[in-house]
């Protein structure tokens, strides 16, 4: 009985000790306590190389390799399309919007970009020059398949 009580007391002391020692921090938040607002991270420059980037999987919307500050995309106009539209690529040398963007929801091809694909930045985003705060061990399918034991150890 005494032994049981001692174990219980010991475990409670251990648990409370570990609770107190636990600092509520994470890689994204930094050391700021949860009930406070930490300093904002500095703005980082936008990647502006104009070099196309490899997609991680075939369905991935290509990322935008240039700055798009102040680009207007609304009912009045679409700045992206002034280079990426079908009729504009000869002059701009930019890649044309994918033919899938001309399809409506029923798979019918329209004469121009479908309204549901009009707002480019819903899928395509520019990239900032940052060190990712959370590490990522994603490998693409080609790398995975070329391994000695596909799908096995990493």
């Amino acid at each position: 009985m005494i032994g049981k009580a001692a174990i219980l007391l010991f475990s409670i002391a251990l648990a409370s000790g570990s609770l107190q020692a636990q600092t509520l921090t994470s890689g994204l938040r930094g050391a700021t306590p949860l009930d406070q607002e930490g300093p904002a991270a500095p703005m980082t420059p936008m990647r502006n190389t104009s070099e196309r980037e490899i997609r991680n999987y075939p369905e991935q919307p290509p990322v935008i390799p240039h700055s798009i500050d102040g680009y207007q995309i609304d009912i009045n106009g679409n700045k992206c399309l002034s280079c990426h539209a079908r009729a504009r690529i000869a002059e701009s040398l930019a890649p044309m919007v994918s033919i899938t963007h001309f399809m409506d929801r029923d798979g019918q091809f329209l004469a121009s970009v479908s309204p549901r694909r009009f707002f480019c930045t819903e899928c395509h985003v520019p990239q900032n020059v940052v060190t990712p705060p959370v590490s990522n061990d994603f490998v693409d399918i080609d790398t995975l398949l070329s391994r000695a034991a596909p799908g096995g150890r990493r």
Partner: protein, 212 residues
């Protein structure tokens, strides 16, 4: 005193002004019998300096951001839109205010533009764009006027600050560098052809060359 004067019928306001003008003309057309020629020349010179200074000061007063944003049409629409753009706030702290882009800096062109602007006073008095809805309805027409003006003077107001000669394309992004070499340096296009809507929101762009 009034008893000494013969009482004549009260003349009309116009007749009295006319008499004054005729008398003034008589004085002006005769050589001065009191002041020396030097005094007159000097006084004329000083008066000229004061008039010219006053005229230009008044002109410059109408050429300020404060004057432009004095009307709510400008303050609540185009000026509000300018505030989020790079021409209002940027890393080096250089700001382009309204007249830097919308009033020619050359004197004769400036006066011509100021005369045109008298129509804008008319528009203000009669409330042509005195609500957000009315402004949005007129935005395309207003934008087309400015684009035509920039196109006609080869984007002069842009080039007052952004000169092609002093542009270091190696410091530009690859995309900008290529585009400027192909279209700007070759003279094929002028600034406004590509850079529309950089300081204000765009109107309905259907039918504008280069836009969908």
């Amino acid at each position: 005193m009034s008893t000494a004067d013969p009482i004549e019928p009260r003349r009309s306001w116009l007749a009295r002004v006319w008499t004054f003008v005729v008398e003034l003309w008589d004085v002006l057309r005769r050589p001065s019998s009191v002041f020396g020629l030097g005094v007159l020349v000097l006084a004329g010179f000083v008066a000229g300096v004061m008039f010219w200074g006053g005229f230009n000061t008044a002109l410059e007063l109408t050429n300020s951001e404060k004057f432009c944003t004095g009307c709510h049409e400008m303050r609540d629409n185009v000026f509000a839109e300018l505030k989020s753009t790079i021409h209002f706030s940027n890393r080096s702290g250089v700001r382009a205010s309204c007249p830097d882009c919308h009033v020619p800096h050359n004197w004769t062109d400036k006066i011509a533009r100021k005369m045109q602007a008298s129509k804008e006073v008319w528009g203000h008095l009669f409330g042509i764009i005195d609500s957000r809805e009315k402004f949005v309805d007129h935005r395309r027409e207003l934008a087309l006027h400015e684009w035509a003006r920039f196109k006609a003077n080869d984007s002069l107001e842009c080039r007052n600050c952004h000169s092609a000669e002093s542009m270091d394309i190696t410091k530009q992004s690859p995309r900008a560098s290529v585009a400027h070499q192909r279209f700007l340096f070759s003279g094929e296009k002028t600034c406004i052809d590509c850079h529309k809507g950089i300081a204000h929101h765009l109107p309905d762009m259907r039918g504008v060359p280069g836009w969908q």
